[in-house]
Each structure stands twice: as C-alpha cells, then as structure tokens.
C-alpha cells in the first residue's frame, strides 16, 4: 500500500514522457556527482612519472617515502621517533606516525582517512551527536586553522592514489604537509612535514616516489 504522498509523486511522474524522465535522471545524476566532487574538495594531483630516477626508500616503520638517490648526497637521515631527513639547514622533513589516540579520536568507528580529507580537502565530517565527538571535531577545526591555514598556508593541494590508500598533499611557500593513509594500517596516519622546499622540489624529491 503506497502512502498518499508517494501515490501523488508516482502520478506526477506518469505524466512525463520517457525523454523528460531521462533528462531529469541525467540532471539528478550529474548534480549528485558534482556534489560528491565538491564535498571532497580535493582533486587528483597532476604529476607525470619521470623515468630514469633511482630512489632510496625510507620507512617510518609503517609507511615509506622514496627520495631520489642524488638528493641524499650530504643529507643527514635521523631515526628519532619516526624519521627525519635534513637536506640542509633550510631544507628538511620529518616523517612521523600518528595513531587514533594522537588525534583524540573518540572510538573505532571513525575512519582516519576522514581527517586529512577534512583538514586539507575541507570535506565535511560525518555527523555525530555524542559530546566526545563535539570536542574531537572542535579540535580538528583548530588543527585545520593552525596547522593547515596558519603554518602551511597552501598554494597547492591534492591527492594521489597509492596502492591500498591515498596521500593528501598541502604545499605552501615555506612548509608543506603530506598525510599518508593506507587501509592496511587503518589506525595510523603518517604525517610528512616538509620545510624549505618549493613546489617543484617537493614534486621531484618526494611526490615522484609516489607516482604510479
């Protein structure tokens, strides 16, 4: 038994021709796709793979970065609660892991990949009513303000698909932050914090290692 308002909608739809229905469906589908794209706020980072580069793979014990071998001449690589690469006094990076606890995530239901999508892509967080989530979300909003807007101040953002996950990229003039998330380690996000490298240097020294 159809409810009266459903009956009304069915009757109205029966008045339209097949062509009109097809047009309406197409518009609806396009709008939905557009909303989904806008919701993530991030576009796939465009970078072509360069051939003939030798890489050194460095791991923070969960995720890895691949840096061209020639860029590591005279660099210092330090393992200290994660990984640090000091290319020079002005150019350096750290590659650390953060757990659910580090982010203050209230429970195991929350997908950690939501965090970089919110911080960098401004994707809305899943609606939650619990007080613990209110505190957590306020903290994430503050993180976005301080870490992304104040410290990095991005001039270029985007994401890469990598095997089993994604990396999320925010590059500013002086600093950059890159988050690595893979479903193999759903309770960990790696934070790659970069200082003193230009967009081009980040692309050639760090992002090339992720290009498939």
């Amino acid at each position: 038994m159809l409810a009266p308002y459903v009956k009304d909608r069915v009757n109205v739809m029966q008045q339209y021709s097949q062509a009109e229905k097809l047009f309406a469906t197409t518009v609806l589908l396009f709008t939905t796709l557009l909303q989904t794209a806008c919701a993530s706020g991030l576009e796939r980072y465009s970078l072509s793979k360069q051939s003939g580069i030798d890489f050194v793979e460095l791991s923070n014990s969960v995720h890895a970065i691949k840096i061209p071998t020639n860029q590591l001449t005279n660099a210092k690589i330090i393992s200290l609660d994660g990984l640090m690469v000091l290319f020079s006094q002005e150019k350096h990076l750290s590659f650390s892991v953060s757990s659910r606890e580090s982010f203050g995530v209230p429970d195991m239901q929350f997908l950690l990949s939501n965090i970089p999508e919110y911080l960098i892509g401004k994707k809305p967080l899943p609606e939650q009513q619990a007080e613990a989530y209110r505190i957590f979300y306020e903290d994430l909003a503050l993180t976005r303000k301080v870490l992304i807007e104040d410290m990095v101040t991005p001039i270029k953002i985007g994401y890469f698909v990598i095997p089993d996950g994604k990396i999320y990229i925010a590059i500013g003039k002086k600093q950059a932050v890159i988050f690595v998330y893979t479903s193999e380690f759903p309770d960990i996000i790696s934070q790659l914090s970069v200082h003193g490298l230009s967009v081009k240097e980040i692309e050639s020294m760090i992002l090339q290692g992720y290009v498939q």
């Binding site: 505190i135 993180t143 600093q175």
Partner: protein, 115 residues
C-alpha cells in the same frame, strides 16, 4: 643574552621538549647539545602550539606578564619557570590532535638545531 645555555636551561628545554613531543623522542640524551637556536626553534613551535591550547597560552601569558608574548626571545626569559609549570600536574592541556599535528610539523626544525 649569551649564546650558551646554562645546565639548568638545558634541562628545562629538555623537559619542555619532552612534554611537547613525548618521551619517545628521548631528548634528555641530546641536552648537552642544546643551544640558543634550539630555544628559538622551540619558541617558534610554541607560538603555534599555544593557538591549540588555551591552558598553555594562559601559562605563557601569565609567566611573561603578557608583555613578552610573541616578541622573539620570550621563551628563554621564562624557560625554567615554564618547564616547571609544565611538569606540574596543575596545567591541563586540551586539544590533543591539534597539539600533535602542530608539534610534528615543527619537529625537524627543532631537532635540526642539535645535529
């Protein structure tokens, strides 16, 4: 102000960094290398961290009487008092995620000063 840090200042900086980065960083081992640059980079990190944390901001403003806040060199002036206050359980910190993300972003700049 001299470049060299006193033994007490180095210990205070080690205590401050341990609180910011956690004991995993084991900064106590490296405290003999601490210098004025390490204090300045820690100060830059704290300038961002206090935006995450009302308690830390109140602490800094209280210890520096408000006047030194954000003026370069404020940390060394209050370093030992600041470390003591952080070590006491009286300061309750909120904003764990913001503190974590911002601290990690500053880590290589701070640790670079001792390598």
């Amino acid at each position: 102000m001299s470049i060299r840090l006193s033994k007490d200042e180095k210990q205070a900086l080690a205590d401050t960094l341990s609180l910011i980065y956690g004991t995993n960083l084991d900064v106590d081992i490296y405290k003999s290398r601490f210098n004025e640059r390490a204090v300045l980079e820690t100060e830059k990190a704290l300038n961002e961290l206090i935006k995450c944390n009302k308690a830390m901001k109140s602490l800094v403003l209280g210890l520096s009487a408000g006047s030194a806040f954000l003026a370069s060199g404020w940390l060394r002036k209050i370093l030992q008092k600041f470390a003591s206050a952080l070590k006491s359980d009286k300061v309750q910190f909120n904003g764990v995620g913001c503190r974590n993300g911002v601290a990690l972003q500053s880590k290589s700049a701070v640790m670079l000063t001792i390598y």
